[in-house]
Amino acid sequence: MSNRFVEAGLRAPVNLTWEVTLACNLRCEHCLSSSGEPAEGELSTAEALSLVDQMHKVGVFQINFGGGEPFMRTDFEEILDACHARGIMTCISTNGTLIDAGLVERLSRTRLVAIQVSLDGAEKATCEAIRGAGTYDDALRALRLLAASPIPTSINTVLTAQNTTEVPALYDLAERLGVTLRVSRFRPSGRGSDNWEALRPSPQQLLDFSNWLESRGDVRTGDSFFSLTAQERQGLGLNLCGAAKLTCCVGPTGNVYPCAFMQLDQFKAGSLRERDFQAIWDDSEIFASLRGLRIHSCEDCRRFDQCHGGCPAVAYHLKNDIEGGDPECLERCVTSIAEKAAAA
């Protein structure tokens, strides 16, 4: 990753997370946005299509759709079509419950879409304890339909204390299904904040996962685990937080934030109902502040070049201090384990 160019500021995000709705037919324990009912005043179809147009004009390469469950929006396929007609690549994060053969056939007509189906355990009981009854079979049904299509598909697993030991089995399951595995970091936002203590992986679990991940170059993590990866994974270039530099997040009502885990008033960069996207990207004070953020307390760490202080969202949610460094980085996991051993 060429931090020099990134820190100088790109003219637009590389990709964008767009939470198109808060509506969801599930109530997962770790949901980052406490999804359930739709948000009041979600973007209309016309507003959503206007945003797609803006994304095209500013040069966004890819939009990652999430929510809520994106397919709960009846106009979601129309929004996708508008992206694909403009050459914008899309990735959809879905719980899989609304995916049927007809939908897969329609989505297969473009080569610009990829889909992640959430599955939070290789064992049915593990998954359903977090996601609810019936979710395991629904996800597998969706994954089988997608695996038989040309759509690049992955299992998306949020790493929790309950499923860390099942990650290798999830990898094998993905291989058997003909899809790939993506593991995302559990962060204390939304319902994830309410259930943080119960679901957070321990330092030893994070360390074990980090070691496993190092030998699995084909497992995707997005930018979730750049602060945890023992060595920069070759070619992925994940060594810094991309919020406001490479990416940002649009919420269901058109508010723009640095990332999906910072959808709080204090991090709001602007509203698309008041300003166009380019103006928000260029002029937002909070974006400027994050672009200039330096985690000085981490600069002497031997791993600084690999994470640059880690995830500011986790630092904010756990310590109320985005300048304090990631409280759950690999180095702190190792220190924590050593301190515990010494105390024992």
Binding site: A8, R11, N15, G59, Q62, G87, L236, G237, L246
Partner: protein, 85 residues
């Protein structure tokens, strides 16, 4: 036999930035920051090009630099070779 041309890989995108060109490969995903300044516009990659085809007005030295750059893009998978016709 048709002459060899080059084209942006369908999984890749490119756009102009202040420093030059920013390439994106959705298969990684991965990024490539090319400090090309204004030597080569992003829309150069919007169509199939001959390997020796460059914008007008470039010196031989600049063309040689670009030949090497395009070869690297092919090697890294951002561009792919295909027949012209």
């Amino acid at each position: 036999m048709a002459a060899a041309g080059i084209k942006l890989h369908p999984a890749c995108r490119v756009r102009q930035e202040g420093f030059g060109l920013l390439f994106y490969d959705s298969r990684g995903p991965r990024l490539l920051f090319a400090e090309t300044g204004s030597l080569l516009p992003a829309d150069f990659f919007g169509t199939v090009r001959r390997k020796d085809e460059f914008p007008e007005g470039l010196s031989e030295r600049q063309k040689n630099t670009l030949r090497s750059f395009l070869a690297q893009l092919i090697e890294k998978g951002f561009l792919r070779e295909q027949p012209i016709c």
